[in-house]
C-alpha cells in the first residue's frame, strides 16, 4: 500500500530542508527510529515492506514526503508502534511526529492543481438556476458524477465522454428554451390530440378514433411550451369496465402522476377529467396512465373479462397565469432588447469572465440569423451552455507551470463554487472587474456575506452530504422482517435531520463541536418514534431540546447509524471506520493481502454477542493492529441498533459499550461523542475536508501543514465553520494556480 503512495506526483526537494530541521534529525528522529521502529522495519523482510534502515542514517534517503505524512499519522494515532511494543514517552512521540510533519512540509510539497474541473451535475443545476432563473432538473438528463477521494468535484475523476457531451447538448437546448421566451408567445395555447394520433407506447394501440390502453401503461403528447406557467391537462375518457372496481387513471406530466381518477364511465357516456399543474418551460410530455388493468379469461360474463381505458382525446391548455420571464430575461424585459448587449451580460455570468470581442461577435452573428431576437438569444444561449468555457472551469497555467496569482474572476469562481456550488453573482463579478478580490481584504469581506446568502445551503446539500456519505443512504435496504420501521419516508427524514444539523451549525455560527453535541435534535413524527419520543407530530422536521447526548449529534442520528450497518445487523467495524475516517481523518488501511474481510458472522467458538465474536478475531495479531483501534468506537455505538433505535441489550445480553479512543477511555456513545468533540483531530479533519472540497483535489502535505499552522495559531478558541472556511480561503493554494512542472 505504501508503494501506491509513492506514485503521487509530489515534487519533493529535500535540499530545501533547513539546517535546524536536519540537525534535529540526528538528535531526535534517528534515535526514535532505532528505539521504536527498526526492530520490525529493517531489511528485506521488513513489515509492510517498509525498510527504514537506510532512512535512519540520513533523511535524504527517504524519497517521499507523503510517506512521512503517513508515518506521522500512524504514530500520532497510536497505531504504531503496535500495542504489544513498549509505548514511547508521550513527549518523544509528539516531537517525532512534529518533525515529520514540519520536514514533510518544508521539503516543498505542493500539488499541482487538478485537471480542468468540469461542473458537476449539482453545480450545473444551481448555476443555471442562479444565472438564468431556470429551474432545471439536471438529474433527468445528466448522469451522476464519478467520485475521487470523498467528493465528486475532484478533478481527478471528472472525465468527459461522447455520451456525456450529448447530454450536455440536450441540457443546453432545454435550458436555453426556458431562458428566453418569445414576447408574443405568452398567451395561452390549446392543443388537442385525438386518441388515434396519440403517442403509442407499450400496452396501448389506436382503436377507431380512440386510443385504448389494454394493459397498465400510458400515452402522451409532447408540446414545446411557450413559457413556464400553470397548465391544464384534460382528457375525455371512458372505460371498458370489468372486475370489482372502475378504471383508475392518472393524468401525468413527464411520467409523474399529477392526480388520480376513478373512471366509471362507459362508451355511452364518456367523461372529461382534468387537472392543472405548474410546468417549467421547454418541451414536456403530457399524458394519461391506466393503472388497474384486469383480465380474467374465465369470467362467465364475456363483458366482465377485460378492463381497458379508452382515451378519446387529450388536451393541454395554458399558461393560465400571468406571464413571468425567467429572471435573466426579465432584466431586459423593458424596451427592445439589443442582442449584443444581452449576450455580453450573459456570457460574463455563464463563463465567469468578460467575453472577448471575437467571442461576442460570433454569438451575435448567430443570434442575428434567427427570425426574432428571442429565438436568436436562445440559439446563442445554447452555444454558451455547451461551450467548454461554461462546462469546464478554465484556469490557464502560466508559462512553465510556475505558481501564479489567480486573477479576480478566477478567485470569484473558486469562491462561489466552494460556498454556493454556483456561479459568481454580480457583486463578486463587480469586485473582480475592479481588481479588489485579489487583495486579502476584498476576499475576506465576501465570505461572511456569501455565508449569509441562501445559496450557502450548498455547503450542507453538497459538501456535508458527501463528507458524511449520505448519498449511499438511497441504496441502504435493511431486512424488512427485522426493521419494519425503516421506510422511504423515514430514510428521507433521517437524511434531512443530518443536513439540518449541519445547516443550523453553519447558519447560527455555532462551534463545530456542536455537530456532535448540539443539545437539540431535528425530528419529525417518524424519527421521534424511532428515537422513543412521542410528543412530536407531523412530517416536517422541527427542533426539539434534548437533555442528554444520546440524540441530536451526528453519532446519535439514524442516517449515520444506518449507513454504517449491514442489512440484518449493526457493524461495529463499519461504525468504527466511520468515526476514524470521516470524523477524525485517520484513515485505516484495508486488510493486508491474504487476510479476508472480517466476517463477523463466522466467529470461532460459541461466542454469543457481536462484541465477543469480534474480540475473538482480534486475538490474531495480524488483525489486532488495526482492529484494536477500529472496533472500540463501534462498540460504544452498539447501544443503537442497525437503524438507530436505542437498545440496552443485544440478543438478550447487556451491551458492553466501553472502550478506548487512543488512550482515552469511554463508556457509551455519549462519552464517545464528547471525546471526539474534544479531539483536535475532529476540527482538523473537517478543515482538511473543506479544503479538499474547495480545491477539488487531494491535499498535499504543504496544504495540510498550512492548515495546521493556522489551527495551532487559534489556541483554545472554539472554532466555527465560518472560521474553517476563512482558513481555507486564505490558503496559499486557494489563491494561486500551480501548473504542471517538470520535476527539477
Amino acid at each position: 500500500m505504501l508503494d501506491a503512495l509513492l506514485l503521487v506526483p509530489w515534487l519533493a526537494s529535500i535540499a530545501s530542508m533547513s539546517p535546524e530541521t536536519r540537525g534535529e534529525f540526528e538528535t531526535l528522529v534517528a534515535p526514535f527510529l532505532s528505539a521504536h521502529c527498526l526492530d520490525c522495519h529493517t531489511g528485506p523482510k521488513a513489515k509492510a515492506k517498509l525498510d527504514l534502515a537506510a532512512i535512519s542514517k540520513s533523511p535524504t534517503a527517504l524519497g517521499s514526503p507523503k510517506l512521512w505524512a503517513e508515518m506521522a499519522q500512524r504514530v500520532r494515532s497510536g497505531e504504531m508502534p503496535p500495542a504489544k511494543r513498549p509505548r514511547p514517552p508521550a513527549a518523544e512521540q509528539a516531537a517525532f511526529v512534529d518533525w515529520l510533519e514540519r520536514a514533510g512540509a518544508s521539503a516543498l510539497v505542493r500539488a499541482r492543481d487538478p485537471l480542468l474541473r468540469r461542473l458537476t451535475r449539482y453545480e450545473y443545476e444551481r448555476t443555471v438556476r442562479d444565472v438564468l432563473g431556470v429551474e432545471f432538473d439536471a438529474r433527468s438528463l445528466l448522469p451522476p458524477d464519478e467520485v475521487a477521494g470523498s467528493f465528486d468535484n475532484n478533478g481527478a475523476a471528472q472525465g468527459m465522454s461522447d455520451a456525456l457531451l450529448e447530454r450536455y447538448l440536450l441540457a443546453a437546448e432545454d435550458v436555453a428554451a426556458a431562458a428566453f421566451l418569445d414576447p408574443d408567445a405568452t398567451g395561452p395555447v390549446r392543443e388537442r390530440m385525438r386518441g388515434a394520433e396519440l403517442y403509442r407506447g407499450p400496452g396501448g394501440k389506436a382503436d377507431g378514433d380512440t386510443y385504448v390502453l389494454f394493459s397498465n401503461g400510458s400515452t402522451a403528447l409532447r408540446r414545446e411550451l411557450p413559457r413556464p406557467g400553470e397548465y391544464v391537462l384534460r382528457a375525455r375518457v371512458y372505460g371498458r369496465q370489468a372486475g370489482a372496481e372502475p378504471c383508475k387513471a392518472a393524468l401525468i406530466v413527464d411520467g409523474h402522476p399529477l392526480q388520480l381518477f376513478d373512471v366509471a364511465a362507459t362508451k355511452s357516456g364518456p367523461v372529461v377529467i382534468e387537472t392543472s399543474a405548474a410546468v417549467g418551460g421547454g418541451s414536456h410530455a403530457f399524458g394519461i396512465a391506466f393503472l388497474n388493468d384486469f383480465f380474467d379469461a374465465a369470467a362467465k360474463d364475456p363483458a366482465q373479462r377485460d378492463r381497458n381505458l379508452h382515451v378519446e382525446w387529450l388536451e393541454v391548455e395554458g399558461p393560465l397565469d400571468a406571464p413571468r420571464h425567467a429572471s435573466f430575461q426579465a432584466r431586459f424585459a423593458l424596451g427592445k432588447p439589443n442582442a449584443r448587449r444581452v449576450l455580453d451580460e450573459l456570457l460574463l455570468r455563464l463563463w465567469r469572465r468578460p467575453p472577448s470581442a471575437q467571442e461576442l461577435d460570433e454569438l451575435t452573428l448567430l443570434a442575428a440569423r434567427a427570425p426574432t431576437v428571442e429565438a436568436g438569444l436562445r440559439a446563442a444561449c445554447a452555444v454558451a451552455l455547451a461551450s467548454p468555457h461554461f462546462l469546464l472551469r478554465i484556469e490557464p497555467d502560466s508559462p512553465g507551470g510556475r505558481r501564479r496569482k489567480l486573477d479576480g474572476y478566477e478567485i470569484a469562481t473558486r469562491l462561489s463554487y466552494f460556498l454556493w456550488s454556483s456561479a459568481p453573482d454580480d457583486e463578486l463579478l463587480g469586485l473582480a472587474a475592479k481588481g479588489l478580490l485579489e487583495q486579502d481584504g476584498g476576499l475576506r469581506t465576501q465570505v461572511p456575506r456569501m455565508l449569509r446568502d441562501a445559496r450557502a445551503s450548498a455547503l450542507s446539500e453538497n459538501f456535508a452530504e458527501q463528507w458524511l456519505g449520505l448519498r449511499r443512504l438511497d441504496s441502504f435496504a435493511p431486512d424488512p422482517t427485522r426493521f419494519a420501521d425503516w421506510t422511504k419516508e423515514l430514510a428521507s427524514a433521517a437524511r434531512a435531520e443530518t443536513l439540518a444539523l449541519f445547516e443550523c451549525v453553519l447558519r447560527e455560527n455555532r462551534p463545530v463541536r456542536e455537530l456532535l453535541l448540539p443539545g437539540f435534535a431535528f425530528v419529525n413524527a417518524d424519527l421521534a418514534r424511532l428515537y422513543g419520543w412521542n410528543h412530536v407530530e407531523g412530517e416536517m422536521l422541527r427542533r426539539v431540546r434534548v437533555e442528554d447526548a444520546r440524540r441530536g449529534g451526528l453519532l446519535g442520528q439514524a442516517a449515520i447509524l444506518a449507513l454504517t450497518s449491514n442489512p440484518t445487523r449493526t457493524s461495529p467495524v463499519k461504525r468504527g471506520k466511520f468515526v476514524l475516517e470521516a470524523l477524525l481523518g485517520a484513515p485505516t488501511p484495508p486488510p493486508p493481502p491474504g487476510v479476508g474481510d472480517l466476517d463477523e458472522d463466522d466467529a470461532p467458538g460459541k461466542a454469543r454477542g457481536l462484541r465477543e465474536k469480534l474480540e475473538l478475531h482480534r486475538k490474531d495479531a495480524a488483525c489486532a493492529t488495526c482492529h484494536d483501534r477500529l472496533d472500540p468506537p463501534g462498540f460504544a455505538l452498539e447501544r443503537y441498533d442497525a437503524i438507530g433505535a436505542w437498545r440496552e441489550r443485544e440478543n438478550g445480553l447487556p451491551i458492553d459499550a466501553a472502550g478506548e479512543l487512543g488512550s482515552r477511555r469511554f463508556d457509551g456513545p455519549e462519552e464517545l461523542a464528547r471525546l471526539i468533540a474534544d479531539d483536535p483531530g475532529f476540527v482538523r479533519n473537517l478543515a482538511e475536508k473543506l479544503a479538499g472540497y474547495a480545491l477539488g483535489r487531494a491535499l498535499a502535505p504543504a496544504d495540510a501543514a498550512e492548515l495546521r499552522a493556522w489551527l495551532d495559531a487559534q489556541g483554545r478558541r472554539e472554532l466555527r465553520l465560518s472560521d474553517l472556511i476563512e482558513a481555507v480561503v486564505s490558503m496559499d493554494a486557494f489563491r494561486h494556480r500551480i501548473g504542471e512542472q517538470k520535476a527539477p
Partner: protein, 442 residues
C-alpha cells in the same frame, strides 16, 4: 456504388425489425478484408462474483458432448459455443496493491491493465477491448458502442478496499481515465439508441433539433480550438475528451445519422426500470438485440451486476445477497444457491442468443455474425482468484468460430489473448490488448 439509405428500407417494411442488411447499405469503410457482406458484431457479458466452474465446464479438451448442469439452458446452441479453460487475469491479482479483487477483476477484464490504486482516488486503467473494436466497427453506425448494466454506479469514493467505485461499476473504458457512460434504465437506453436521447418527440421536432446542432457544434469547436494553446498538456487531456465528443457528433451530423431511427416504433419503448430483476435483464437484452438487428451499433458490453454486487435473486428462490453467498466457505447450501444463480444467468443469456439465432441476415443468422463472450473476472468468489476464469464464447459461425467444444489453454494464458482473437475474427486488426501475448487460437 450508390449507398441506399437504410432508413428508407426500415420505413417501407411492414415489419420494421430484423431487416436484412444489403451490401449497398454498407458504407465502404465498414467492410473489412475477408468479410464481405454484413458486418460483424461483438458483445461481452459479465457476471460478478465468479461462477461455479465445476458445474460449468468439463476439464478435458475436445468436443462438448454432455452439457454441464449450468449450461443446460443453451440446448442446441451449444453447437455454437466454446468453453474456455485456463485463461487468467494476472493484472487482476494484488501484485503488491493489497486487497480489492472485485474492483480489479472488473476494471481489468477488458483492459488487461492493473488498475491504479492511488490515495487521491485518481482513475487509471487502460482502453478496453470493446472500445478498441468500436474504433473500427463503430465508425459508420449511429452509436459507436453501447455499455449496459443492471445497476448504476455506487455513489461514493470507495467500493472495494481503497479502489474508486468506478472500477467495479464499469467494463468499458474509453480512455485510461474515463469509463464509457453505462446505461441501466431501459427507457434511457431506447431513447439513447433510437430517439437521440429524447422520447415522446415528433420526428419533425427531432429533425429541427438536430439541424440546430450543426451550428452549435461549429461554434463550440472553434472555442475549444482557441483554448488549445492556452492550456498545459495535462489540461489538454480533458479538452481533448471534450473535442473527441464533438468529433463524434460531427461524424454523425455528416453521416446524417441523427433522427433517423424513427422506424423503431414507440410500441417498443420501455416504461422504465422494471421492479422485477428478471424482466430488467431481459429488457436490456432485448434492446441489445434490437440495436444489433437495426445495425444501430456493432459493439456492446453488458455488466449484469456491478462486481461485488450483493443483490438478491429472490425471483429464483435465493433471497441472500450474491456477494455474501459467493463467500460460501464450501457450505453445500450456499454452493447450491450459487449454481442456481449461474444457471439463471445462462438462461437469460440463452433467451437473447435464441433471438439472434432466429434473426436472418442474408444467408446467415445474426448470431452467426455476432461473437458473444460470457464470463467473469473471478473464478471462485470465495477465493477471489483470477485464474481458470469461467468463460464461454457463443456465435460467430460466419466469422470463423466453430463451437461445440472445450478449449483448454495452457495455464496462465492471458484472458486478453481471447479478446485479441475475438477482435481479429470480427475483422479488427489488433496487435495487443493490455497484457495479451498473442491471439488465442479460437
Amino acid at each position: 456504388m450508390k449507398l441506399l439509405p437504410r432508413r428508407a428500407l426500415l420505413r417501407s417494411g411492414s415489419c420494421a425489425l430484423a431487416l436484412p442488411l444489403l451490401d449497398a447499405m454498407l458504407p465502404g469503410m465498414s467492410r473489412v478484408p475477408g468479410h464481405a457482406g454484413p458486418p460483424a458484431r461483438l458483445l461481452w457479458v459479465y457476471v460478478p462474483n465468479g461462477m461455479r466452474v465445476d458445474k460449468l465446464a468439463p476439464s478435458a479438451a475436445g468436443p462438448l458432448k454432455e452439457l454441464p448442469a449450468t449450461l443446460k439452458p443453451l440446448g442446441a446452441l451449444a453447437a455454437q459455443a466454446t468453453l474456455l479453460r485456463g485463461l487468467a487475469q494476472d493484472r487482476g491479482r494484488a501484485n503488491g496493491d493489497g486487497p480489492g479483487d472485485h474492483a480489479r477483476a472488473c476494471a481489468n477484464y477488458l483492459t488487461g491493465v492493473q488498475p491504479l490504486k492511488a490515495p487521491d482516488g485518481r482513475l487509471g486503467v487502460g482502453v478496453s477491448a470493446d472500445q478498441l473494436a468500436a474504433r473500427t466497427l463503430g465508425v459508420s453506425t449511429r452509436r459507436a458502442s453501447l455499455a449496459l448494466g443492471c445497476e448504476p454506479t455506487v455513489p461514493g469514493g470507495q467500493c472495494d478496499s481503497g479502489y474508486p467505485c468506478a472500477y467495479s461499476s464499469n467494463l468499458s473504458w474509453i480512455s485510461p481515465t474515463v469509463p464509457a457512460l453505462k446505461e441501466y434504465d431501459p427507457r434511457a437506453v431506447f431513447d439513447h439508441l433510437f430517439r437521440e436521447g429524447r422520447g415522446e418527440e415528433t420526428p419533425e421536432q427531432r429533425a429541427a433539433r438536430w439541424k440546430a446542432r450543426a451550428s452549435v457544434v461549429d461554434l463550440v469547436r472553434a472555442q475549444a480550438r482557441r483554448l488549445e494553446g492556452k492550456l498545459s498538456s495535462a489540461d489538454r487531456a480533458r479538452l481533448d475528451e471534450y473535442q473527441g465528443g464533438l468529433a463524434s457528433l460531427e461524424r454523425r451530423i455528416q453521416l446524417a445519422l441523427g433522427g433517423e431511427a424513427d422506424a423503431v416504433p414507440d410500441e417498443l419503448r420501455p416504461k422504465g426500470i422494471p421492479t422485477d430483476a428478471r424482466e430488467h435483464v431481459d429488457l436490456l437484452f432485448d434492446l441489445l438485440a434490437l440495436a444489433f438487428e437495426t445495425d444501430c451499433t456493432r459493439v456492446a458490453t453488458f455488466l449484469v451486476g456491478n462486481e461485488g454486487s450483493n443483490r438478491s435473486y429472490a425471483a429464483i428462490g435465493v433471497p441472500e445477497g450474491h456477494h455474501d453467498l459467493s463467500h460460501h466457505g464450501k457450505e453445500l447450501d450456499k454452493l447450491d444457491k450459487l449454481a442456481r444463480i449461474d444457471h439463471y444467468h445462462v438462461e437469460r443469456l440463452t433467451r437473447f442468443l435464441e433471438r439472434l439465432d432466429r434473426a436472418r441476415e442474408g444467408d446467415a443468422s445474426l448470431l452467426d455474425r455476432t461473437l458473444v463472450c460470457f464470463g467473469s473476472g473471478l473464478e471462485d468468489g470465495n477465493r477471489h482468484n483470477h485464474e481458470d476464469l469461467p468463460t464461454l464464447v457463443v456465435g460467430g459461425r460466419a466469422l470463423g468460430h466453430g463451437g461445440g467444444r472445450v478449449l483448454v489453454s495452457e495455464r496462465e494464458t492471458p484472458l486478453c489473448n481471447l479478446h485479441v482473437a475475438l477482435l481479429e475474427k470480427a475483422g479488427v486488426a489488433c496487435d495487443r490488448i493490455g497484457d495479451s501475448s498473442q491471439a488465442l487460437p479460437l
